[in-house]
Amino acid sequence: MKVSMTVNGVAVSHDVEPRTLLVQFLRENLGLTGTHVGCDTSSCGACTLILNGEAVKSCSLLAAQCEGAEVTTIEGLAASDGTLHPIQEGFREKHGLQCGYCTPGMIMSSVQLLQRNPNPSDQEIRHALEGNFCRCTGYDNIVKAVQWAASQS
């Protein structure tokens, strides 16, 4: 079946099997491999992206459900001139990543967090990111990265 949507500002359209997940559509059909898969139970959050303004886990949606949607992935977060989003800067400034595998999902969840709560407390950040696993950092520097980004606006 044919699926069409706008990904990072670009209109895309592909023929896919009906069972194709949104994350597969991005990784396999569009070659956007920044969105990662870390589990098969919607538990890890590595595949988190922004769909129509909401952070969602793209492993738990069919591509077909996203017909006509606006999708932003990690590849589309920086400005077109390459200027990084403050959350991206924050992760680098505060060493909020190590292996980098959970990072795209963690960043996308953080983007939504700051949209909803521009000045979150330590506990509010930890609560908002509990859908995203990180096995490397112990989360401490991720919390600091989000706080750093919050302090930029």
């Binding site: 990662h36 589990c39 991206q88 959970c102 989360y139």
Partner: protein, 788 residues
């Protein structure tokens, strides 16, 4: 040029990760690539009576199907370490086949591989394979597997043992225990853990018929080791015609050290079908096929004289190895465990015995810390329990028994009772600093007050030591390692003065692109931007033993320093020629060779260019500047520290809240404090996860009941506190950087601190011990039973 070593330089590798442009193995797409799915046994022990692949072979998109029969002629997965029985019998190494033919020995054992145009087609076709199993009896616990009449894992091995092992002086330990005024004896279970790197294992085999050459892309911590094991021991293919590439790897924590069957399978299958073959684990598959960690059943006793001085330590452990021997498996519960039982203490006599035991479970191997967390956990539980039993303060009892400070230069290294010689240490200093940071005395008062109000606050200590910087080849060779554990480096100076540093270490989160560049920048006096660190490709890096055992900087970094020294030596020869001076009259400062006492100098870049444009080089001076080095360490390194956890247990719900966590480490010199803090944080999180949340559980039938992220509880952001980390510095005396390693410390030291804190909180209720993980349910039950 500013000094780089010691600075918290922001990581140069971060840009690709924060923009989604990292290159993990599953991101790689090759022309004509096929996809593999592996059909696995859902039973823990079963005879395979027949495998019918007829329908699968003719399913849509299927390119090939191979079974255990098809790969029966191929060697099994080898073990890298030989630990023989104490009576001299050679270690038992049953074949670990790429796919099983006659019997499945654990849930997840591979039965067939289906290769198709898409992953979905491969998975659909695998559903069409009919396997006729005959279910057999199962044993999952190491101690039960040793009992008479226990189900046998390998038909030829009636007692299920791979080896037994001992270390230390039994007579002295027995004597020390006999004369002890007080003995603390505990039964300790160190539960099975699953590393759960967030990137699942992923491999692509790519055989080129035109060049008769194999390429394996693998999410590995040590591509050269995989190449050697796969070429020489499994497939029998030429090493010089095999390239192994590990680009970005999404965490390892030990689980990606080992050579796995799927690596050899995709490589072999690619040659069979003359197309690339990709396999990526699904998470539920990773749970039953990634090597697990820990899983020790231990009885340990520590004796004390009437003043609280340790007189002896006796330990017996049944170590679960799973169904087959994984790459490092025999070394973990022996040479990386028994040798650490001295801890930070002057223990005059130690004896340890270990059984390495097969069970119908996933193979067990190194997981962050590997053997050292198990040793530290039992020591720190024993000494804490002993303090309570003897009515002593746990910090004071530790300090009374600490080995006095020694720097390994003025004072010699400390010879333990269990084979190792510690390099340098000041154990009391890290304890005192931790007590200061915590404000110990005030906290004890606070604890007293809280108890009066019916609140349960606990303070838990852990003073750990570890052996890392693995390892001197001669030492590990004498202990049964089948490999040397040196590291290699190559430094290539480009004509423009830019420098490519090739390292056999592998970064899967550690930040080598940054720290190694800091080391090279300082040594050459050039800008960080002028240095590129290259790793993870056997065709670019001369050789490598990879990254595990907190060895990258201590061993890999030292190899780089050696190569940099050669670069400077050669550069001086070229500079001397260009400056028409003698080499002895030159000094190298800030990237320039200067004739001492003059203003005549020449920069690194000019020397580099001249080396590649040698129009007037004298006879005997070779063009070019490029050097290899191999560094074999003189000793292990021994980082140490004291961790203190403060918890509050809610007696109504059994929930443990970590109120504070103070970690004072001494990892020797530090190249990048920001990165070291991050490594410590991550280790703490994993160690705390083991104490409170995580644990792999098999039921009696051998099913892993914690086989998804919904059942296996890894720490999430709101399970953890903000950490208070601090450091002392006792440089390593035997490597050029004075570094000791920091990757595993947090995971080793934090687990007992948490358990000690929870037990300390609940001691007024009469609770003396709890088995990990300390889930709310378990703690609530203990409180309930104590009250009953």
């Amino acid at each position: 040029m500013g000094k780089m070593i010691g600075e918290s330089i922001k990581r140069v590798e971060d840009h690709r990760f924060i923009t989604g442009t990292g290159e993990y193995t599953d991101d790689i797409v090759l022309p004509r690539m096929t996809h593999a799915y592996i059909l696995r046994s859902h039973l823990a022990h079963a005879k395979i009576k027949s495998v019918d692949t007829t329908a699968a072979k003719s399913a849509d998109g299927v390119v090939a199907v191979f079974t255990g029969e098809d790969v029966a002629h191929i060697n099994g997965i080898p073990t890298g370490w030989q630990v023989n029985f104490t009576d001299g019998e050679v270690m038992r190494e049953p074949k670990h086949p790429l796919l099983v033919k006659d019997k499945a020995l654990h849930v997840g054992d591979g039965v067939a591989i289906v290769i198709a145009e898409s992953k979905e087609q491969a998975r659909d076709a695998a559903d069409l394979i009919e396997v006729d199993y005959e279910e057999l009896s199962v044993v999952v616990d190491a101690s039960k597997a040793l009992e008479a009449g226990a189900p046998m894992v390998h038909d030829e091995l009636p007692d299920n043992r791979a080896f037994d092992w001992q270390l230390g002086d039994k007579v002295a330990a027995d004597t020390g225990m006999a004369k002890a005024h007080h003995v603390t004896k505990m039964r300790i279970r160190n539960q099975r853990m699953i590393a759960n790197a967030i990137e699942p294992r992923s491999y692509i085999g790519d055989y080129s018929k035109a060049r008769d050459k194999y390429t394996l892309y693998t999410s590995s911590q040590n591509p050269h080791v995989i190449r050697l094991l796969m070429c020489a021991f499994v497939l029998g293919i030429p090493e010089h015609k095999t390239r192994v590439v590990s680009k970005d790897v999404g965490g390892g924590f030990g689980s990606k050290i080992f050579h796995y069957a799927e690596e050899a399978l995709v490589t072999w299958a690619s040659q069979q079908i003359a197309r690339p073959v990709k396999w990526t684990a699904e998470r539920s598959e990773a749970f039953v096929t990634d090597a697990h960690g820990r899983d020790h059943n231990t009885i340990a006793e520590m004796g004390f004289d009437k003043d609280g001085n340790i007189t002896a330590l006796r330990v017996h452990t049944d170590a679960n190895l799973g169904a087959y021997l994984s790459t490092f498996a025999p070394a973990i519960p022996t040479y990386l465990y028994g040798t650490l039982l001295q801890g930070q203490y002057v223990t005059p006599a130690i004896h340890v015995t270990v059984n390495g035991v097969f069970t119908h479970t996933t193979p067990v191997d190194a997981y962050r810390g590997a053997g050292r967390p198990e040793a530290t956990y039992l020591l720190e539980r024993l000494i804490d329990t002993a303090a309570a039993e003897m009515g002593m303060d746990p910090a004071e009892l530790r300090m009374k028994n600490f080995i006095p400070a020694f720097d390994g230069v003025e004072q010699p290294g400390y010879q333990t009772q269990v084979a190792l010689q510690y390099d340098s240490g000041d154990y009391e200093a890290t304890m005192r600093k931790a007590l200061d940071v915590l404000g110990y005395n005030d906290l004890r008062k606070e604890q007293e007050e809280a108890r009066k109000q019916g609140r349960y606050i606990g303070i838990g200590f852990s003073s750990y030591i570890e052996a890392c910087g693995i390892a001197p080849s001669a030492v590990v060779g004498s202990l049964g390692a089948r490999a040397g554990l040196y590291e290699s480096a190559n430094v290539r100076v480009q004509p423009t003065g830019k420098v490519s540093v090739h390292t056999g270490s592998h970064s899967h989160g550690q930040g080598h692109d940054t720290t190694f560049a800091q080391v090279a920048a300082d040594h050459l006096g050039i800008a960080l931007e002028d240095i590129e660190i290259i790793h993870g490709d056997t065709e670019q890096v001369p050789f490598g033993m990879g990254t595990y055992g907190s060895r990258s900087l201590a061993v890999g970094g030292s190899a780089i320093v050696k190569a940099l020294d050669k670069v400077k030596e050669k550069g001086a020869k070229v500079a001397a020629h260009l400056l028409e001076a003698s080499e002895q009259d030159l000094e190298y400062i800030d990237g320039k060779w200067t004739v001492k006492g003059t203003d005549k100098s020449i920069g690194f870049g000019e020397v580099a260019l001249a080396s590649y444009v040698p129009h007037n080089f004298p006879e005997g001076l070779e063009p070019g500047i490029e050097f290899n080095s191999f560094y074999d360490p003189a000793n292990f390194t021994y980082p140490f520290g004291t961790y203190i956890a403060v918890v509050e247990v809610d007696a109504e719900t059994g929930t443990t809240e970590i109120k504070r966590f103070v970690a004072v480490d001494d990892v020797g010199n530090v190249v990048n404090p920001m990165i070291v803090d991050g490594q410590v944080h991550g280790g703490l999180a994993q160690g705390i996860g083991q104490a409170l949340l995580e644990g792999a559980v098999y039921d009696e039938s051998g099913q892993l009941t914690t086989g998804t992220y919904l059942d296996y509880a890894m720490p999430r952001a709101d399970d953890l506190p903000s950490f208070e980390v601090d450091r002392n510095v006792t440089p390593c005396p035997h490597n050029p950087l004075g570094v000791k390693g920091c990757g595993e410390a947090g995971a080793i030291g934090s687990t007992p601190a948490i358990v000690n804190a929870v037990v300390d909180a609940l001691r007024p209720l009469g609770i003396k011990d709890l088995e990990m993980p300390l889930t709310p349910q378990k703690v609530w039950a203990a409180i309930h039973n104590a009250n009953a």
